[in-house]
Assembly symmetry: D2
Homo-oligomer: 337 residues x 4
């Protein structure tokens, strides 16, 4: 931590800052410039909570040098983590596909799509049962009934199941049915919910918030991990910008940035990021080429009658074609599926 | 709703769209342009859920003309709503101040600040007990103990109490202590939580999400209202942009925009929006001049030792001075406090 | 400037950085933390150009402590500057109105509006002659003919003239007709153009770029000032965000932020910021209350037939009513007009 | 164009709108809904300039259905365009590399890098001579002397030359030295400059503005094309968002979006987009996989002493390695180099 003093801060304000920091058991290093004096602070900064250094007389600003996340930080865990979900090993040299409909709508829908996805090579079945929708009048999901249908489809096909949870009640209802909890973009800083899934023993797929920096995202992962559950997979799904040609702006550079800062695996969801099915193949190829550990893709047997997000859903046939198109790109990256 | 067909869409694709829409009991109006044909759809669009018109052959895009929120919409409720919290009437010609510390830290802190705020004219005491913090290692709040302290301070001073709830458990714990629930920016699209406070009989302060459009914000209000609780007050608290000189960018134009679209009251939180105490007076004046129904301002007896957000907190003395400075601006706007 | 070394950077990389910095005649201060070592650099940093410290072995990042703008910086020029345009003194206790049509369209239009504006109290006539338009097929302005009409209207009414210049040719054409050059948002980082107006002896109104940080904006002012022309007035006109309810998001907090960092005057353009005439009065009041030195407002005799931006233009009657409504707010801020 | 009337707009306001539109020689189609009435407008909308329909009594809003750019629009030119620069054919099945230093600094620098790039397979030499820099105190480029050095290096190696122009004077100076003009991000809406390069017979590389939508970008291309020069290549170089981990956010989805809307070729500049050399390889792979027609990459013989943007520059050796790594990805996309 670096404390920058105002130009011409009186000597006694500098001494005061130093004495407050040192009283907390931290060390300081003073550096006097021509215009400004800076004070480096060495030691455990959590001891400074409640000493609002930035408000002390003479202080211009405080700059943090080290990240606030520890368990998610690559600096303290250099080896990439692998998270196992069913038979899939996310973060290994396997490219993992999580595919399925935005919303679970019926038994026929979920079984039809699950069988097709399995045949195409997808390892994990995704589907929404508790749906966060912008308008309260839009379809809200089949809730626990949807999870049961998914679990049955997973059992028959041998696929693992991932589904979004939006509350403690949903976590409890989902626990027996799913193999992985999904935290959606809108709940990325629902810290209460992060702690709840952090207390469980199931892997968590943590989507990036619409307006979350990568630093905030890794801090959200830290919330889950600090409760004891280290099985976190990140999912880039587009951020909100001024551009309206796509639903969100897919930040593919988040893939290598996350890999430079964290040991956690990261996948990409091109369906939600773009909102346009015609962009899913190109953004899937780009994500793989950027180093993503997997993809989450919406597939619906009949997109034209989907109860949510049909515009971004592939048919099972289109998904199958996409998988075959993606395989050589995955192979170039040293991955298989 | 308007359906725009692709240039040169074959006649049979146009007929197909019309027949699908009309089968659902809606009417259509066809308009053939030189380049494109458009189809106007008349009637209750919720009947079209599950008919993904935008995916039909020949369709280029679908444009919605009417808003998806109804109860929050000024078109169906022209009179401004007044929400009563304790003795305060938000949305009336009274300018309402919600003031207090970011976090409740101790009995002494909350009583000291409450007495001072009351004397300065604030009607509602704010304070955080369940704190959403970016890092899990930051102070997380006193939880129910904090609420009890606030309730006692409110009782002594005659001030109403508002505090943030972050989960169903927090709603249940807070119910007996607070006069108004606050939904924080990070939970604005925690639809599960919105429904829970919507089932209660207490007013709700709904902060705007960091990256929420005004349309999404009013849809979040609709979630609360559609459960039966119409006592919603909106709070503009800054949006996330590229600018880093302030913590967020305070969108003061949201005040008149909301008033043109909704009958709900709206207040402004200049403390969280800017993150800088020196900007609170100017942004408070601007908010009042823009037509805000109230202000939420952070006040701490000793900002330099606050456990959260000290940099944006006024002292009680500074708050008192601010109130006196704001009064003539409020009067010019036809308001008093 | 602070150089942050990577965790466990070898001793020789630290020594190498220090020796490179010191060879350039700068001083260093070393501060060794538990995780990281930081090197403070003292002296004139322009000497380090061409020594890309951030690329040296062992360096994690370089943080700048002091601003790169000098002439625009309040630290070296504590007194607020006053810029004189005609009879108007921008930055004084006078509130300055620049008003007029988006585009100059005809002699009748400009004289009609100029006479009305003068009567309402506006000091400066604005009008576009060289128009930057998103589409090449939209009206591009009357160019020099428009400037002549403005100059005549200014002469008759005693108002000063401000108009946008978009090229060196436009600067040369406008020089004899206008009292103040305007640099538009799209040209805020057209550094060539900034230098050209910096070589003249006329005041410059520098609009903020659509996506410009306040720091970049003050650096753009520095371009003009470093050529010798210190008569710069800044104009906040909204920044681009995700919100679509307004054309741009008016960043009113930029007013006090600029005043904390620079001695230059700052005005606000609520017409372009919002794009909606109904929002102009509330945003004008808010701007004055935030401390703006003036306002730029679009006024057109018949907005419904304006060749550009009619939707945000007031009629002369509406402008007159607005001025009367704004006067008491200006007076509260210690200003008159 | 669709005109949406306010709910309960009086009949005479509807008739008034229709009569104004039809007087201009356009046709209308009326569609009466339960809540709102909409009026479709058919014909050449440029006839409506100066009739601000959105300001007429009873009108709620006007929605445009067709794009304002014509020459750049794929609807009227279905075949992809190929732009020839020297021996390179951009938009063909050749993957084109534009590589070189951010700034031309010396004869030795430019010849060293040009020879190496040529050997690695780059077809076009890039280099800055007129440099737009945020601070006026940063290195501003060698100007015409730099262009001469580049031209000589191009002649010796057989590479074509591209360099940024920032004013009419620079266009004139550069004309004899370069094979392609570059318009930088900061000048994307410098419409005067766009017209000037549009009057020449040399290809233009048009970078996307920091905050430009794809629609605005294609309108900027239209400015160039409407002057007669159809040889435009677009370059995605990152947009400004709230994320600070990268300099800008590379919007790779812009590649397929542009290809769906326009026939113009598009390349990607991962160096400027990210500002971090370690991200250049992954973002280059992703760009190719997304369908880009080429890449612009910064290469400097000694990045640690570069006068600008060293942090994002590869060495010639790193560039050579990158080219070899990229070739199989290009081949998978049906491209060669």
């Amino acid at each position: 931590m670096i404390i920058v003093m105002k130009p011409n801060a009186p000597e006694k304000t500098i001494e005061n800052v130093i004495s407050i920091v040192e009283e907390k058991g931290l060390q300081t290093h003073l550096s006097r410039g021509e215009q400004v004096t800076i004070i480096g602070v060495i030691g455990d900064k959590t001891r400074l909570e409640g000493s609002n250094i930035d408000l002390l007389d003479g202080v211009e600003k405080v700059t943090h040098i080290t990240e606030s996340y520890k368990l998610a930080n690559k600096k303290f865990h250099a080896q990439p983590s692998i998270v196992t979900v069913g038979n899939a090993r996310i973060g290994s040299d396997e490219l993992v596909f999580m595919a399925g409909p935005c919303s679970i709508e019926s038994e026929e829908q979920v079984f039809t799509v699950a069988r097709a996805l399995k045949a195409s090579g997808a390892q994990i079945l995704r589907g929404g049962a508790f749906k966060p929708r912008t308008s309260p009048y839009a379809f809200q999901g089949l809730e626990e009934q949807g999870l049961k249908l998914m679990a049955e489809a997973g059992k028959e096909t041998g696929m693992a199941i991932v589904s979004e949870v939006t509350s403690l009640a949903a976590v409890e209802a989902a626990y027996q049915h799913v193999d992985m909890f999904q935290i959606g973009a809108r709940n990325m800083q629902n810290f209460y919910l992060l702690k709840e899934v952090g207390k469980t023993d199931k892997p968590v797929l943590l989507k990036r918030g619409l307006a979350a920096t990568i630093d905030e995202w890794l801090n959200a992962a830290e919330y889950i991990m600090s409760e004891g559950n280290h099985q976190v997979v990140l999912c880039e799904r587009g951020i909100r910008t001024f551009e309206t040609a796509t639903r969100n702006t897919l930040d593919i550079s988040a893939v290598p940035v996350v890999k430079s800062k964290s040991h956690l695996p990261i996948i990409v969801d091109p369906s939600h990021a773009t909102g346009i099915k015609d962009l899913v193949p190109s953004m899937s190829r780009a994500s793989i080429a950027a180093g993503a550990d997997g993809l989450m893709i919406e597939v619906h047997p009949t997109p034209a009658t989907a109860l949510s997000d049909g515009a971004q859903s592939l048919t099972p046939q289109e998904f199958d074609r996409l998988c075959r198109e993606l395989l050589p790109f995955a192979n170039l990256m040293g991955r298989h599926f």
